[in-house]
Amino acid sequence: MHDVAIVGAGPAGMAGALQLARAGLSVVVIDEQARAGGQIFRRPPEEFGVRHGQYRPYGWARDLIEDFEEHPLIETRFRQTVFGILRDPEGQISLAVSDGQRGTRIKARRVLLATGAYDMPVAFPGWTLPGVMTAGAVQSLLKSQKLLAGRQIVVAGSHPIQLILAAQLLEAGADLAAIALARDLPGFLEMARTLPAIPGNVSIFTEALRAMAVIARHRVPLLRRTLISAVEQTGEGPLRISLRKVDAQWRPVGTAREFEADVLALGYGFTPSTELARQAGCALSWHSAGGGWTVQHDDNFRTGVQEIFVAGEQTGVAGAGRAHAEGLVAGQAIAHSLGVGADPLEVNRAQALLKSSERFAGVMQTMFEPNRTALADLSHHSATVICRCEEITSGQLEDALTCNPFLTSASAAKLECRTGMGVCQGRYCEGTVAARIAMHHNTQIAQAGHFNAHLPVKPVPLGAYGDLDH
């Protein structure tokens, strides 16, 4: 039995693990990826002969990763998936873990969920075509696998990370046909203006501004107030990507312009990965600017389930600095809950980081909140796929809504028309389904609720279950 089991080795999980290990507690960290770092610090594999990747502008990343990898009290289990949280009849909590073939049960006195976030899915005609990818996919292939996705690429989205991605692609030799940003550039200028107000937390903004210079130098069309509307492909030909001018509310004005590319990289925001928290019974709350459904917690990052704590993007997507700070504070709180006090200097440092990152996160979130209604509007055409796995279309969802006036929740829609029943377990349709229900009934998205998560939260071989009994 470990003192603490941590799910996720991103900035939040690593920071938490180090606080706990330094307090003398035994920690096990499980992550599906091959190495520590999480989404933001994805780095090349060891076989490529390098230890580190590019962490700019996060100066603290290198030390964090090295300290984490070298601490003797931290046990790591990479390439393993936590597929559920269990409680045995004696009340002992444990993680159900699969390595892809076998299962194991990891018991711990406390659990820290630091599972991060994924690119927010947006359904529109053609979003399931091969070559349409999330910005995170295109970026991680480049950063960690040194694979450039396509010669000709279109980048479309609304988050400042799109600019950073565009610059990274250009510097790697890609040809960008266009960069389409749903918002106006003033958003980004405002961003520049807020910089001096938030010392120490300017990283992502400064990177975005640096990226704009690279984009200008390469003379890539930077289309403002322009939203994706559809993608088509004939045979093995290029993707034909329609981009449409929108107003300040992201409503279409004028006709679409078509661009050809091999790959379309989409980035309208991030969705917190809350499935383990849901399955374990932690309460969620709706926070649109924070990415949608976030996990409820107290000032110590403890959830309603008393052994379970959360840190990082699941409390609201707010960037690497914030995830790091939350990991520190959560780690200290967990140590405290196990009767181990922390060094007062460390506590002060963590609290100070948390406070400054909070202001930054607030600015960032309100400035870049996606317009969920406008995005869900892109899915209205009846043939548009909403659930990628089960291939449930907009028309099927609309029929279900029309035939069942009492169908007012995402969960009910799942039962009624199978959307969300596939292998991704609803991660890629929940947001669209909820927004469409809200539009249909003229209510708020939050009222449509969220899907429930069950064991296994990610599909695992049947054998992995059987092993849990031992």
């Binding site: 594999p45 390098v50 996919a137 694979l147 790697a172 990628r388 796995c389 599909p459």
Partner: protein
Amino acid sequence: MANFHRLPVARGRPVRFTFEGAPVDSFAGETLATALLAAQVGAFGHTREGNPRLPFCNMGTCFDCAVQVDGRGLVRACLTDVVEGMVVNMQEIK
């Protein structure tokens, strides 16, 4: 038509495996997703309705990159490294 290509950096030693019976050359440290994309594979599998799928998220959440590896189904290519002699097939009906 996708057009993925490797940047010229140091990679691991050569690794050969098969996809749908045909040999694929790759390098140690690469994921199956990278190796298959670099080989310009047009589909990692198909949906119930026969539509092709390529990786979408590359971070383990979407399952669009799922393939069959040595007879095991629903293996995420983005989280699985290439291994010499691995037998990889499309994941039909995800």
